[in-house]
Subunit: 294 residues, 2 copies
Amino acid sequence: MDIQVYLSELKAEVDRCLDRLLPGEHTDPVTIHRAMRYSVFAGGKRVRPILVLAAGESVGGVRGALLHLGAGIEMMHTYSLIHDDLPALDNDDLRRGRPTCHKVFGDAMAILAGDALMTRSYQVLADLPGVADPVRLAIIREIAFATGTVEAMIGGQVVDLEAEGKPVEASVLEYIHRSKTGALLTACTRCAALAAGADSGQLRALTEYGRKIGLAFQIIDDILDVTCTSEELGKTAGKDQKAKKATYPALYGIEASRRKARELILGAVEEVRDLGERAEPLRELAQFVCSRTA
Amino acid sequence: MDIQVYLSELKAEVDRCLDRLLPGEHTDPVTIHRAMRYSVFAGGKRVRPILVLAAGESVGGVRGALLHLGAGIEMMHTYSLIHDDLPALDNDDLRRGRPTCHKVFGDAMAILAGDALMTRSYQVLADLPGVADPVRLAIIREIAFATGTVEAMIGGQVVDLEAEGKPVEASVLEYIHRSKTGALLTACTRCAALAAGADSGQLRALTEYGRKIGLAFQIIDDILDVTCTSEELGKTAGKDQKAKKATYPALYGIEASRRKARELILGAVEEVRDLGERAEPLRELAQFVCSRTA
């Protein structure tokens, strides 16, 4: 398979699904819907929805349900980016090469657009097509847990904020990575497994795959922040270092970080070995995550 | 019945339930959990949970499920207050007589505490005890709709922000009231009916009761903003007028606004006439809303 073709085809499908699931930009009140769409269609790579599709299809899931699930998770991810970029938090002016939501729509509208994307996400999850009610609820629980405060997204952001400017400790760094981005990435493969009706062995394999890929993804993000220019990244480079953020390269150096990422990728591939041919996209995705340069 | 005793007993039960359902303030990361609890336990009257209990019990609902539902909705309401109070939005320093969340914990933590309360609310709704899965999902859909952008809470806040300083128009005022606070108040009685397994006639009656009570409540809020001091209100008085906000008194004057509120209350009481003896708390609540002075 050609991973580039796979990625661009799925991205197009995900974008069409998101377009259908978000209120139109002529729907009143128009400002909030424009702000939501501005950030959702800001050129994201759709890593999470593609992970959902690859994981779900590796255990026989149906694309329609998985697309909606991926779109719901992408809305959740986008809400977290909009809020993280606010002046009160990471104060970022640039995201994927474009001005951030609050730079274009103002802080008030950015706060509300984030709130609205989280809200819309739960609506989408509550209505997943072709998924039984108990599974819909299980997915809502997974996502709410993964984006919550305890060993999860918001908790990771809190610890990240509180750790700024302090000496980096390995245990804190682990917590931040596992919680801030890892939890939702793991939820992608877990929820895909649930939506696809995976058995417990498959669920376990996809959970571990998601956990390892998620951590590798974050380590590589940290490395790219050090080694790339802002132009290459489409966001402000070197800002982790400037903010004295806890990162892998800061703690272990770039080479050891690269080694760690490669180990995780190999481990992730190993996890899904028993899933056979249908897991080929998961293997390709893992290599892709490891080799990306921006 | 003694409405004051009824209110204070239910408020105590709701507070105990909220205490059980929120992460403890020694749970890591502690700051976010303290911020969440600070705002949830800031002396709110628990209007929404009490409305849920009174409505649900009027059609034979069980208190356990209704308490959890009320607590989930109160978390949702509290998230909206925390975000609305932020400097970027209404910029309010005082709420229920105490400094607002961002004054105590900073803007970043207030934004995240709001996000976390919304997230926790969906967890609570997904786990409502003694409620069947399809009903849990129906309740999640109701709440997500009521707090969303289209004729709902966030949409109302957007239009309210955009209307500031402009001449008040009746249709805009209607939209703001119906959406910003009305939608969630109506969702209280509707979700209570769903949780209680109400029939369609009962659901319709409780929906209309909620709609009317909700609008009356908001009109009286507007009146109190004009006629009370900040000390009496526990929040900054006269700020609607100062911000040139669209309000009933600004558009129709205080006397006509009082008359409108009384009409709505009588209408609400009429709606639940057929529910008989068990709806007595709903009738008392209606009178209480109308007579409150702060």
